[in-house]
Symmetry: C2
Subunit: 441 residues, 2 copies
């Protein structure tokens, strides 16, 4: 087999076989196909598309390029959630302990912040001592003991994805729904899970700005997951403004504790509840989304979710009493009154990054304490000089830049905006699920 | 400027500016853009296509990646011919001396055999002592003295094309009319010529099997040449069977001498005459193709073409008296009688290569003496045991393989085939040229 012949076939609109794709990914992972050949194939795959069979074969080949966790020794159903990324998107820290408290095993492997979006690992590491680098053995032990582990990706999970992602990033081949799907699903399926809930975000703070793109990606991921024998559902959710009020690592941890204590923001609580309900439904713990949401409410009300969160922090060496705080807090006032018509969510994410809460380059260090607390969100009424947002900062170096970004992200005017639904649709193999969840959004 | 942004733009169907393309080719030639980025761009360019302005900009940038000959110190109009390659395609050795004898300056830079096709340099080097590696100074002197030089590509002509071609060859990005056009035209326009005649071949022995593809490439090349201020015309010619009877380097040189002596094969003589007439027309030496063909006939009849050929050989150190001959000649007989319905021209080319007349790998040495003399061509009547072809060989190592190829390439049957026209169309900026030449084909 010659890789150039596979490239030509894809270039000319043909379909590659499962064996051809498996061979190519094996050869690439073994350094037997050079990057300059792979990048031409990636561009052909982006422009010509992949059939569903090719996508499944690619996902499978990438999944099997490294270690696949075998959680069969741990009793119980294993369910995870994955988000395509957003600003203030912190549901993992809420739903992982609540779902575990409801009896589902949650082996969650997360990533770091990317561009303007935050990452679960960065949030967890704002808790002093919290260790996301558990070995496989430690992870297995923790899952057996408390039913949940929140860890980072290891070198041996889907190494083909690591190399392909780095190559796509520099060759203009990131923006392919098929390649994005294979990248996400190969990593998630390597976790050895039985079910997966996908939170596919759209809006000004998401990577996918249009709902059409998001829906297409969601459909690809659900179909690919189901083909590989993993029950999969995707919720199309709003990321046109930050989720909750807090943006910034330690600030977001505090907000999660508030939700787990029953006093968190409404939108964050609602989305966490829905995602948890879907995890419980896929895990067979409940029969309907409504029932799943009742379980969520009960586990918040009786403190089980919060207790499980503390168990995770303790198991992974964290100390919440030392959660860092920024030295300075500056309120940012509205210049005029009216409705908050719109918030440019990506700019809010970049403002937090500029304060030190995110990375511009991979190797940058993060300041876990800094960030923003929004005081006004879309649809809220503001009067001139009301606080729009609090800025938590340690250095004045780029404060002015952050202020300018926040000011330009808020649009205050006389039009009461139409609120976007928190969940606009659900894609799943079972239509009865989709219907019941849509009513909730 | 970032190359990835140019890749994204092309990928999404946008048009790159002249400056962007010039920048990219400069950076790539200077090793500032890695191959893995360029190959993704090449695939995007292949699948999305290039606008005519982009194609002109790419050709121009590749042309200026190295040295551009300045022939202004040599009086007279400079005209060259380029062929897309075929089997037995030896017109350069005929039309270069004849056009020079007619007063046109011919600074011809040729290539070596590629795949099943022969190359002018290999043919010239079958003449003992013939030196194709003239320096620029030697070339200029020879052009001033005898009006024609037949040389190989030097390192400093269009170096970007050399690198891009090598990359395309291993990444499935060869088969793009735009990229083929830029590759050919950047090299040819670096010769500092005033006019260019293109011989674009189609049929079983050509790289382009369909006339539609060939016509598209011809149109691109003519438009690109004209945009760059070089008068350009393209003839679509037949390569469904070998041109003339000889295939193999020294055998082809002998056949060229026969044409120059007025006793060559009809098809080879006719095509050489037409191509020469076009060179003379573009060079302003004649007013019509008919007049150009009359000049060709006169220069053959009075021996001027042959004398010019001898001048070239002498100037470049060659000795025709030592032209090599193969030790063995084996006639191959027809198994049955009928019409020669078809000859698979690519197989004939490979048969010659297998005997040692061409290269399977770049580094292979060539045996200049070996090859084939066809005795029957398409439309000829054969009787069982008539000789179809003579095999000139030095080693029996792969003789059986060559015999099998030749036998399977001839189809003899009861159907008198419809002969394909030698020239099926002419593409040029001036329609009056096209019309008069079409009548001739």
């Amino acid at each position: 087999m010659r890789f150039i012949d596979l490239t030509r076939k894809k270039r000319d609109g043909g379909e590659l076989s499962r064996d051809e794709i498996a061979w190519a990914i094996r050869q690439y992972t073994a350094d037997a196909i050079p990057d300059y050949q792979m990048s031409a194939w990636l561009m052909a795959a982006l422009l010509r598309g992949l059939t569903r069979a090719e996508l499944a074969a690619l996902t499978e080949a990438m999944l099997h390029s490294g270690r696949v966790l075998d959680l069969s020794s741990i009793p119980g159903v294993k369910i995870d959630k994955h988000s395509t990324g957003g600003v203030g998107d912190k549901t993992s820290l809420i739903l992982a302990p609540v779902a575990a408290a409801a009896g589902v095993i949650v082996p969650m492997i997360s990533g770091r912040g990317l561009g303007h979006t935050g990452g679960t690992l960065d949030k967890l590491e704002s808790i002093p001592g919290f260790n996301v680098h558990l070995s496989l053995e430690q992870t297995m032990r923790q899952l057996a003991e408390i039913g949940v582990a929140l860890i980072g990706q290891t070198e041996d999970i889907a190494p083909a994805d690591k190399r392909l992602y780095a190559l796509r990033d520099v060759t203009g081949t990131v923006e392919s729904p098929n390649l994005i799907c294979a990248s996400i699903m190969s990593k998630k399926l390597a976790e050895g899970i039985d079910g997966l809930v996908l939170d596919v975000k759209t809006g000004s703070g998401a990577f996918m700005k249009s709902e059409e793109e998001a829906r297409h990606l969601a459909e690809l991921m659900v179909e690919t997951g189901e083909r590989m024998g993993v029950r999969t559902a995707a919720l199309l959710t709003d990321m046109d403004q930050p989720l909750g009020y807090a943006v910034g690592n330690a600030l977001e941890v505090k907000e999660c504790i508030a939700v787990l204590s029953g006093s968190g923001p409404q939108d964050l609580t609602r989305l966490s509840s829905l995602l948890t309900a879907w995890m419980l439904l896929l895990g067979g713990k409940v029969a309907t989304i409504e029932e799943g949401e009742q379980v969520f409410a009960r586990l918040i009300a009786d403190g089980s979710g919060l207790r499980k969160f503390h168990e995770i922090v303790r198991a992974q060496g964290g100390d919440l009493s030392g959660l860092p705080r920024a030295k300075n807090v500056m309120p940012l006032a509205a210049a005029s009154g009216g409705y908050v018509e719109q918030i440019d969510c990506e700019k809010i994410g970049i403002a937090s990054l500029v304060l030190g809460g995110g990375r511009e380059r991979k190797e940058d260090a993060i300041d876990p304490a800094v960030g923003l607390i929004l005081r006004k969100k879309v649809g809220d009424v503001v009067r001139a000089s009301d606080t729009l947002c609090e800025i938590h900062y340690n250095s004045e170096a780029r404060l002015a830049e952050a202020v300018a970004l926040i000011e330009s992200s808020y649009r205050v005017g006389s039009q009461m905006p139409i609120r976007r639904p928190l969940v606009s649709d659900v894609i799943s193999a079972g239509h009865q699920f989709a219907r019941s969840a849509k009513q909730e959004s």
